[in-house]
């Protein structure tokens, strides 16, 4: 997946746990949990959803590396196996 596709994946996962948020209003550089008022269970549900959409493994110690939208997209971009999901 390219950067835009991964961004869409994360946003889709976020709106799944917080249907009331406006994706356009997300500040890509700000802490997601804080700005969207999501808790650790919501955040886990977001990561599970991202994993299901992409197949990318996200070890627990890396959770802090996905705390903003930009960081999450960068992490996923680097973490996805080469050539994976190019047909998505």
């Amino acid at each position: 997946m390219n950067e835009q596709e991964l961004r869409d994946v994360v946003i889709r996962a976020l709106t799944e746990v917080a249907p009331d948020i406006d994706p356009a209003a997300i500040d890509p550089a700000a802490d997601l949990a804080e700005q969207l008022d999501i808790d650790s269970i919501d955040f886990l549900n977001v990561l599970v959803n991202v994993h299901e959409q992409t197949g990318i493994e996200i070890p627990e110690r890396d959770y802090p590396k996905l705390s903003t939208l930009d960081d999450a997209v960068a992490y996923l971009l680097a973490a996805q196996p080469r050539g994976a999901g190019t047909d998505a």
């Binding site: 917080a18 009331d20 808790d39 650790s40 269970i41 886990l44 599970v48 994993h51």
Partner: protein
């Protein structure tokens, strides 16, 4: 809650049902509630068509129970599944012998000229109380703002639910005189009113006492991180699961904190149904139950928690989850606060609070180090227990968290 709208039938006549099956979805002013059936049998007749608004206690369907000839009415509108309340608007005329009223209520009804058959009972097993009669006499046909007479009485609307004295209506917000509409704005308002009425009642009636202790979480968190290394993401545990498990097991060992204060007496509960306070997006909160939490594994608790949070926020909780927590936990640590002094949900007698797990200086064996520390608090009802029992409870939570592998 005084009425609900039947949104959807999940069964049809002739369907076989087992206790616990979801048979219908009802819209209350606060949320959509999945109605469970409380007996095994075969659906005989659906009495209420979809889209109909009916008062609480209205039988929704009849069920043939096995070989029995008679079809016991079931299940009525939650949150009082086994409660039959005679109300004038009820489509089902209810027999006189189902009317339960205290002698005092009967006397007051006679004095005020109130026909008991027209009064909705909020007491135990749907019994009509003096307040119900006074409320009826005051002509409270239309929803009114929370007044003493309309005060939530989850304490008493005991359905034939598993927990003795279990309240039919302990959804925090249980019995709001809700505006009869399902608009989101009205729902938020109704929830605010209901929470206000319930919490005001708690602060008015319950002599709270408060205790707190600090717990070293380093062992528990290290164990958790190690566990999670081997787990696929969807099966990983959060620290909340450990805290809930410890609280549930400690509650099972401290009967004076686990149960209900009903009719001027404490009724301990055999089972530990752990209420979990869940904040809703857009405001308000619910505290549905994780059933038999003291006997659940961490995996079961974690799965239950994720499921409850997801469904609570989507507005899809089950009647029994809303009605029967025996003790509640609130975990405000997510917001970074260190300490929460809880307000007990009547008719429960205790509320356990956890703050954030924070790095703090901590002395062990004469040495000072930085450790992850959580502050656990207990708000408990002094009518049911004393500080001694409460203290033992918090100490036990601490001890349990030092052996996470046994949770």
């Amino acid at each position: 809650m005084t009425s609900g709208t039947l949104l959807e039938w999940r069964v049809k006549p002739g369907d076989e049902v087992k206790r616990g099956d979801i048979v219908a979805v009802v819209d209350t002013s606060k949320a959509e509630i999945e109605v469970e059936i409380f007996e095994d049998g075969v659906i005989d007749e659906l009495l209420v068509p979809e889209g109909t608004r009916v008062p609480v206690g209205t039988p929704l369907a009849t069920v043939r129970a096995g070989a029995e000839q008679e079809a016991p009415p079931a299940p009525p509108v939650p949150p009082a599944p086994a409660r039959h309340v005679a109300v004038p608007a009820s489509p089902q005329p209810l027999e006189e012998h189902r009317l339960r009223a205290s002698p005092l209520a009967r006397r007051v009804a006679e004095q005020l000229g109130v026909d008991l058959a027209t009064v909705a009972g909020s007491g135990q097993a749907g019994a009509i109380t003096r307040t119900d009669v006074e409320h009826a006499a005051a002509g409270a046909v239309t929803p009114a703002p929370p007044a003493p007479a309309a005060a939530p009485s989850p304490a008493a609307s005991a359905p034939a639910a598993p927990a003795p004295a279990a309240s039919g209506a302990l959804a925090p917000p249980p019995t709001p005189p809700a505006p009869p509409t399902g608009e989101p704005g009205d729902r938020a308002l109704a929830m605010r009113q209901a929470i206000g009425a319930l919490m005001a009642r708690s602060k008015r009636e319950i002599p709270h006492y408060y205790l707190q202790t600090q717990i070293d979480m380093s062992g528990a968190l290290a164990w958790l991180a190690e566990q999670n290394l081997e787990r696929p993401i969807a099966e990983r545990l959060l620290p909340s699961a450990l805290l809930l498990s410890a609280a549930a097991k400690a509650a099972a060992a401290t009967p004076a904190l686990n149960g209900f204060w009903v009719d001027e007496a404490f009724r301990p509960s055999e089972a530990v149904h752990l209420g979990v306070a869940i904040s809703l997006r857009g405001g308000g909160l619910v505290a549905p139950a994780l059933h038999d939490a003291d006997r659940s594994s961490l995996d079961e608790l974690m799965a239950g928690l994720r499921d409850l949070v997801t469904r609570a926020r989507a507005g899809r909780l089950r009647g029994s989850e809303m009605s029967d927590p025996t003790i509640t936990v609130t975990n405000l640590g997510e917001q970074g606060v260190e300490l929460v002094h809880g307000v007990i949900y009547p008719p429960q007698v205790a509320l356990v609070g956890f703050g954030a797990v924070l790095e703090r200086p901590w002395a062990v064996d004469g040495m000072l180090g930085a450790r992850p520390i959580v502050t656990a608090t207990l708000a408990a009802d002094h009518r049911a227990s004393d500080g001694h029992a409460g203290g033992r409870f918090l100490t036990l939570i601490d001890r349990l968290l030092q052996k996470p592998e046994e949770l």
